[in-house]
Symmetry: C2
């Protein structure tokens, strides 16, 4: 690949390949696009660090070869070290590629001592990034909807980029953390983007060709109205024969262009997008229409469950947006085709810094589910604030609907809205690279300790980092999600953000809006009663024990109290503090923690490349400014409402 020039190497700097590149390596990867990547990666590493690709195994330090064990699947691999030789085996090219990056991650450890054979397989078959990238710049949402890292990696000037080197480098980074699927355009499919499915599929194919060597299948967001807007049919009714034929034919042509095309992503009947409701059909009818078209070719439709009334009347307290996905979809369990995947946001609302896990997850045992998270930090600081989301995602992935510790897995796939763009640091905030990496690794192994993943990321990104740098990065990142939570909306209540762009505080910003996102603060208390006994009944959407845990303020976890209950300002939390004092304390603490993180980062100036250090330092200034704004606005708002002064006498305006 071409050197991407001024582009940050992220977690694949040359030095990360030192251990591998200084060895004698035997590769028997066979033929094919991913095998080619294995060969070229090893050749380049050896050329750089003095190693050698050798023709037989006699004196090899590292052997990559076909597997002699069953059950690895296409992506799994074995790893062992015996008698001075490290061996990776896999049943397929993809497995070898992942095995190679496993060795890279281990570094010198991969070539030290003895290691019994380990079997590595991804826990989730689909590990996907959805790009909310527009081809034509949207007048309000821009090139990348909810993007905070510059323009699109894929699209510029109204077309697929001619130079796809950046996409190639991106694919390589994704392969190194285990991601195997990318949707290349926004789920809100506007007029221009609709054509990617038909007359502009060649542009998608060009991108797919570049991602394929990294084991990544390309997916496309499509509009449910495609038969009408592209095909000229009078209807998009999923039960209409002409519509079915249109989709079958359109999909056939897609596979002519992209033989390993991954499938479609669909946002239907959601925030104004067209869908099956217009024809009196169910979402299973809608999803199965596309599933049938994709089935002959092994494709999958990812059907988003983000269906709710976005024109709610704020006066109506009986309607609860949190209930919507469960109410819409659980009656359809068992009716989705095997190659239809219901893509469910991790929480019932919309990527707030704190939400309960969606009750829809676990409630559809006969439906394939993928869990969707947001790597792009729409509600978590927009890559101007450091907010490492590993702990949040890990918490969600470890949640078990029945309250068990580990039975079953939460879903069949994990999807993140990408946080990457054409920014030189990929993600705007250089430390937000950790979110992208962590997402991939948790999708491979949802049980992984996120802190261990962060160790990997630090070691790869800063090869040979001294302990002070490792400790500093942990100090800045480990608690950053908690810090962000502290200085923003309290106790799970969410959505105290500026309307529209969602950056910065506005306590009442969504309080009288049609979006279904309220906190109901008055002079006596705050929070949403979602109990079954006196509220919207949302709590009863969970199985036991969670339905019972969430039903009562006595058992509901503090951090979700205001999501489930409307309580007085004097209500005493499990922490022993009143709600109002908790609000004051966390907001002061959150700012102090952000200031402390900034201070720690300043102290790392001698250990971090200057451009990277400066970029982060500049963002910390904004984070601290914004955190103070959050603190003061939230505290003032609740002082004015409650009349209760801060117990510690600090300044509240």
């Amino acid at each position: 690949m071409t050197d991407p020039g001024d582009i940050d190497a992220a977690w694949l700097p040359s030095a990360a390949f030192r251990a591998v590149g200084s060895r004698r390596v035997l590769v028997r990867a066979g033929e094919g696009p991913q095998a080619g990547t294995v060969h070229s990666e090893l050749a380049e590493a050896c050329a750089r660090f003095g190693g050698r690709v050798v023709p037989d195994g006699a004196d090899a330090d590292l052997v990559l070869a076909p597997a002699d064990v069953d059950g690895l699947g296409d992506e799994g691999f074995t790893f062992e070290r015996r008698g001075g030789t490290t061996t990776v085996t896999a049943s397929g090219q993809r497995g070898l590629l992942y095995g190679l990056f496993h060795v890279v991650r281990l570094g010198e450890d991969a070539f030290t001592g003895e290691r019994a054979r380990e079997v590595h397989r991804p826990a989730l078959a689909t590990r996907m990034l959805d790009h909310w990238d527009n081809v034509a710049v949207h007048p309000v949402m821009g090139q990348v909807e909810r993007g905070y890292a510059g323009g699109s990696l894929f699209w510029a000037d109204g077309r697929a980029r001619g130079d796809l080197d950046r996409v190639r480098a991106y694919g390589r980074l994704l392969a190194a953390c285990g991601i195997n699927a990318v949707a290349v355009n926004n789920v809100n499919v506007h007029a221009t983007e609709a054509h990617l499915l038909t007359d502009r599929i060649g542009e998608v194919a060009a991108i797919a060709d570049v991602l394929r060597p990294y084991g990544i299948r390309t997916h496309l967001s499509v509009t449910f109205a495609a038969p009408v807007v592209l095909g000229g049919l009078p209807t998009a009714d999923p039960l209409d024969e002409a519509v079915r034929t249109w989709w079958a034919e359109a999909t056939r042509r897609v596979y002519e262009a992209i033989g390993d095309f991954g499938g479609y992503v669909v946002k239907a009947d959601s925030e104004g997008q067209p869908g099956p409701f217009a024809y009196g059909r169910s979402h299973a009818d809608g999803a199965n229409l596309l599933a049938a078209a994709l089935e002959p070719y092994g494709g999958t439709v990812h059907w988003r469950a983000f269906v709710y009334d976005h024109r709610q009347d704020w006066r109506d307290r009986s309607t609860d947006r949190a209930r919507a996905a469960y109410d819409h979809f659980t009656p359809l369990d068992g009716r989705f085709a095997p190659n239809a995947v219901l893509q469910v946001k991790h929480g019932p609302m919309d990527f707030q810094v704190r939400e309960p896990v969606s009750p829809l997850i676990g409630a559809m045992p006969r439906t394939r589910l993928a869990v969707e998270v947001q790597a792009t930090q729409e509600y978590t600081g927009q890559q101007r604030h450091v907010c490492w989301l590993g702990p949040m995602w890990s918490e969600a992935l470890r949640f078990r609907p029945d309250g068990s510790v580990s039975a079953g897995r939460l879903a069949d796939g994990l999807v993140a809205v990408s946080n990457a763009g054409d920014d030189p640091f990929w993600t705007g905030h250089p430390l937000a690279q950790a979110n992208l990496y962590t997402f991939g690794r948790l999708a491979w192994d949802p049980a992984a300790d996120p802190r261990a993943v962060l160790d990997e990321w630090i070691a790869l990104t800063h090869p040979g980092a001294p302990e002070r740098l490792v400790d500093g990065l942990h100090a800045v990142l480990d608690g950053s999600w908690s810090t962000y939570e502290k200085y923003t909306a309290p106790l799970g209540v969410g959505f105290m953000v500026q309307p529209g762009h969602h950056y910065g505080p506005s306590v009442d910003g969504y309080e009288y809006s049609p979006w279904g996102t309220y906190h109901f603060a008055d002079r006596d208390g705050v929070g949403v009663d979602r109990s079954a006994a006196t509220g919207t009944g949302y709590a009863a959407q969970y199985a036991k024990p969670w339905s019972e845990v969430y039903e009562s303020p006595e058992t509901c976890p503090d951090e979700l109290l205001l999501f489930f209950h409307h309580v007085s300002y004097g209500h005493v939390l499990h922490s022993g503090k009143t709600v109002i004092q908790h609000i004051y304390d966390t907001h002061f603490e959150g700012v102090e923690e952000a200031e402390e993180a900034r201070r720690v980062w300043e102290g790392l100036a001698d250990l971090v490349e200057p451009a990277r250090h400066a970029r982060v330092a500049e963002r910390f200034e904004e984070q601290v400014r914004c955190a103070r704004e959050w603190r003061d606005q939230v505290n003032s708002y609740f002082l004015r409402k409650s009349g209760v002064p801060d117990g510690r006498g600090r300044t509240v305006y």
Copy 2:
């Protein structure tokens, strides 16, 4: 002039000329652009209605002739009727033009009975419309900033319109209500518009040529940084000799292109626009720089007094935006050149539905002042709501700083931000035409009874209107400002609008913003303490008696109470109601009044041209919807804060 086709005739339908057009008319207007208009208007009216332009006065019903009285000035005229002949005389062409439109307004009354000679002169020399029109569409503000009537009359596709028929028709409407000055571009002068001053002055000249026959001088908004951005100078310092030379030369060229050019309008050091502060100079220095350049040619600079800190910290309660204009400008009294006019918004804030009259007006006796109002309904319903502003403007114009009833006049000029665009009804809401007409007539005679002006407008717009239509229009319009005030922000507190676009309610929308527009509502009370004793001291900027009247909640008028004082919800108004009950009552009443106006309008369907009736009816639907939203949000907000239920037990959410 070309028939503007589907364009509404507004207050100059053909039928308005029936009385004049059916007479024998003798015209001795002389030569010149406005004389030409007098001739052509009369010729066209007579051709249509069977009258005749006659060569001598023997059998004339109407004579327009040079004046034989002194002191009429260029724009005044006499009017009398004696022995069956109606006579209009004037010293200049402009006076004859205004005299002609006076006769048109009178209709048959102009030709009935006897009338002693009346002398008509405009009370204010400058009667101006400022168009906040952009040449290049602004990405956020659009073609017309704060425009609610379609695109610009002057500019389209990045240039002056090639077809200026619409501008001609506009000029004619303006002449008929007495407006004599138009600024053709936005006071926020962006990069493209800056060039109108120099290499694009030809486009302005084309517009001026079309407006000239209607007695209208064309003005231009310019950027204070013009010597830098257009002239390539290193500075725009008003005391720099090269800068003075640049402006002199630029202005000389402007007058080469437009001999009767009116002058410049400048927004300096205001909301991000450049100004003299950057060079440590005063606003008198800045204004006088341009005044000196204009002086040789009889031009005027309108220098806006809208200077305040728009990056205020909401935590800082000592800074008061309301004080800003007075604090900035009164120290400069006497230092402005004779051809510099300080253009002062009628209130100290920004065109809210209720503000006190700015204390700056009356505080600069040695400075020429123009009062600026907003015909475009930025904060008064954006031409989706009916809100006739005649009573508001009249109140402001009748205000006397010393508390007297009529001593002196308030200002030397009156300026409105125009509410017109390329909408077929000119103003979006057809009834908003009444605002434009009323503005012109009040600028001519600030002492006029606005209700009488409205009668004129009704009679001209609907010639021969039956009493039911006249009464219906009064019922819809007369109280519409009061209605709008009732259902929006209470008691003068202002700014409870959606940030940015300013349409619809958001009680806390500006509460924690940098814009200096707060209400400080808490659980106990609401309002801004601007008293001298305990507040920001703003009240003391007034002379007596107002400084004393406003100082105390006991004497402050109810409608301004929350502008001047922070009071408890239980505070009893002069009306006998508590503040909180006043909020509830007015909000319920305001909606009921809007509903009633809609009902009245429905009943006029048989008397109003269908397209016009339908347009207004459609806007009433939106007005009522929005008024209910205002009512419910404001009432809910204050119920939640105060905890005080509505005394009449109505639904508050």
